[in-house]
Symmetry: C2
Subunit: 436 residues, 2 copies
């Protein structure tokens, strides 16, 4: 092999960033790999758009098939996103013995087992560093840097859009809708923000991390997901009073033979490193049995940070090709590993946490006593309470921080409390996380 030929499918934002690096840093990358890395073909349906990047003639095509059919291309980069045709392209590339690099978290989270299975059969590599936390080398850390560790827990801020919105709500005191509009105006949120703000994107990334850290199967486990659309300025204010900040978290934690996994907004102590992750930044807080706590922080999205991750995968695969090998890292972290290790997903109702609970109640005598009575009967004990002055409104917030309690107990207690005539609107709960 005299050079490594690469085909890129999808010349959108990230694809353009990848092409830019491959064109502009060709000499540097060659010295890092030991062989030239040549971007031979780029496939995109839009041949006319000006991407602000000079593309040498003969490279751009509107047929992805031209890349898949090229026997000299050994690495295919898939950056079109979505489930199909991305999935079919990847499977075909693998079947043809090509290696694949992708940033497609939704696809991996849902069809990763099929893709990784095909990669094993074809003895091909799949690089997906860009699928979680953009430019931050978190996949590399789990596959290599922390390989000596049993991963005890992962707490991640992995969705920049949600973190930007929550930061604006916290710093500028904006309500959710306004913070969302601002995020959209600045390009941090899409016109339809559902995937980000409802937690689905965070879930996709969590699934990939659980696969890496525990060999959990992809796309099959029912994981609790709650987004940030219900977070109010009132809860953010109370969080501050209690010394917390609210972040949308991906959480997984090993507990004996069970693996806890969930996506939801959480209150994090304001002195914690994760609480200080602001704006569109991402961070992963990993606890390993040997290494202790690790935080990996940086930009989780955007053209060049994501392109940086894609190119790091190209270099990794390129270094293998330059040495005449493939699949250097054994596929031990497969879905089968999950059962082999005897791990099972813990039902969400069994999760134990501390809770922030905000009741809205009539400002009348005996309310606190009724509420705390019901909580007590469900084995929920209270660490602190804030009940503020009798105001103009007849409904007042009563805010409590619980000691550790079981999710199902909390749900049942809230259901019972919300039926009390003195309760004026649905009770809000936010789980408290203090990752160690």
């Amino acid at each position: 092999m005299k050079e490594i030929q690469v085909g890129l499918i999808g010349l959108g934002t990230v694809g353009t960033g990848v092409a830019k690096i491959l064109f502009e840093k060709a000499e540097h990358l060659q010295s890092m790999i030991g062989l030239p890395l040549r971007l031979k073909k780029i496939a995109d349906l839009d041949l006319e758009k000006d991407r602000g990047l000079p593309i040498p003639p003969g490279i751009l095509t509107d047929r992805a098939q031209a890349i898949l059919d090229d026997p000299d291309i050994s690495i295919v980069i898939e950056l079109i996103g979505g489930l199909e045709p991305a999935g079919a392209f990847i499977i075909e590339a693998l079947k043809k013995g090509k290696h694949v690099v992708t940033a497609n978290k939704a696809l991996l989270a849902q069809k990763g087992d099929e893709i990784f299975g095909e990669a094993v059969r074809s003895r091909a590599d799949v690089g997906f560093e860009a699928s979680v936390c953009g430019g931050i080398p978190v996949i590399l850390a789990l596959k290599q840097g922390l390989v000596a560790n049993e991963i005890e827990s992962i707490h991640g801020i992995v969705n920049g859009t949600s973190n930007y919105i929550l930061t604006q709500m916290t710093e500028a005191g904006l309500p959710y809708e306004e913070a969302l509009k601002e995020a959209q105006a600045k390009g941090y949120a899409e016109a339809d923000p559902t995937l980000d703000v409802e937690g689905w994107d965070t879930l996709h990334k969590l699934a990939i991390l659980m696969h890496l850290a525990y060999g959990a199967p992809l796309g099959k486990e029912p994981i609790f997901v709650e987004g940030i659309t219900g977070i109010t300025p009132l809860d953010i204010t109370y969080a501050r009073e209690f010394g917390y900040r609210i972040k949308l978290l991906a959480v997984c934690r090993k507990d004996g033979n069970f693996l806890e996994a969930r996506v939801h907004p959480a209150m994090i102590p304001s002195g914690h490193m994760l609480a200080n992750v602001q704006g569109a930044y991402n961070a992963l807080y990993i606890h390993g049995d040997s290494v202790g706590d690790i935080l990996l922080y940086g930009q989780g999205a955007g053209m060049m940070p994501t392109a940086s991750a894609v190119v790091s995968d190209l270099v990794e695969i390129g270094r293998n090709l330059a040495n005449g090998i493939a699949r250097r890292i054994p596929p031990a972290l497969s879905a089968r590993g999950f059962q082999k290790k005897g791990l099972a997903l813990k039902p969400f109702s069994d999760v134990v946490a501390r809770y922030y609970i905000r009741f809205s109640a009539l400002d009348s005598p005996g309310v606190l006593s009724s509420i705390s009575g019901i909580l007590g009967s469900h084995r929920i004990s209270i660490a602190s309470v804030i009940q503020k002055g009798r105001g103009i409104s007849s409904s007042v917030p009563i805010v409590m921080m619980s000691h550790e309690a079981k999710e199902s107990d909390v749900q049942e207690a809230i259901k019972e409390i919300d039926r009390l005539p003195v309760i004026t609107s649905r009770t809000v709960i936010i789980r408290v996380e203090a990752p160690e």
Copy 2:
């Protein structure tokens, strides 16, 4: 090859941690590599000491030579520290075609060029993840994860002892000497703390990072080093008033064809991620041209975190051996790379920074005017001044934050000011860093 045989020289704290992982996680590591990783021999001068670790018979020896002479051992781990005989052991191991893993930052910083040169000649790998920031995979990030980037700057808190002392001075208001005693009592500082508190350990790590990021030669460049022994509670209090925290930083930054490199205490804006690195923790803040800002945070020392890094190197080399290859990553980042790229070290006197300057002066009229006159004549302009109430003492602190100024101008101005009769003791300067 049916198994990878490993020899460990040095069964101290980290060595014991490494042996523990290799014995207890043998099955896991085998699945990560594809071949068993067997710790065949351990050499230590003390054969009697109880390390709280059951060592199978026939493994422990007091002769390092037994490891170096064993033709079946393909990886030698050096964990005795210090320059010699560690250096000689490593060179001999490499000459015999063995791969080496070491945590020895002092040795690499001073004799790394010789060691890496021998590794190139012998086609052997040298793993040194544990030499910088303990368990945090920073070497891996620079060699692989951020490989698509030109590294524009690195700001690191890389010495846990100094950071612990500064944190205690800040949080508990302790003077330096008491914070040092506490650090010694807790095992965070050695009986002779010079290497840590005077900045030399930080310099060693900076040299290794500069080698990786820029191909800078090891042990030859004169780099400015200032430790933390001159930091007083007064400066910490003023730092807080201005909105900063004081940290001992390793800094390198590319500026055109120059590379700026220095080790000194610095004031960092209190909202910055680096300012929130507390206690014995380490963090590296890296700015890459594509990826933007990255922070890697965790425990920079200690038995198990450092052992985690050593074992990650073993797995990396083991994965190469299992595939029948070595030196998968080309040695492009050699000392010659520095000259090839046309980089030169910027003289420290040319460094431009903002400065915290604390004068001690007689509380008499005209002092502020004399001081600011001299500063102005040296092109130093002042952003803000704190001059506090006339107290019991006749000497008062006058504290200034400068705009950007050149180091040599600041030094000359201070020299001139310190000669004024109204100045009662030596002026203190602390450089301000706000890494972006």
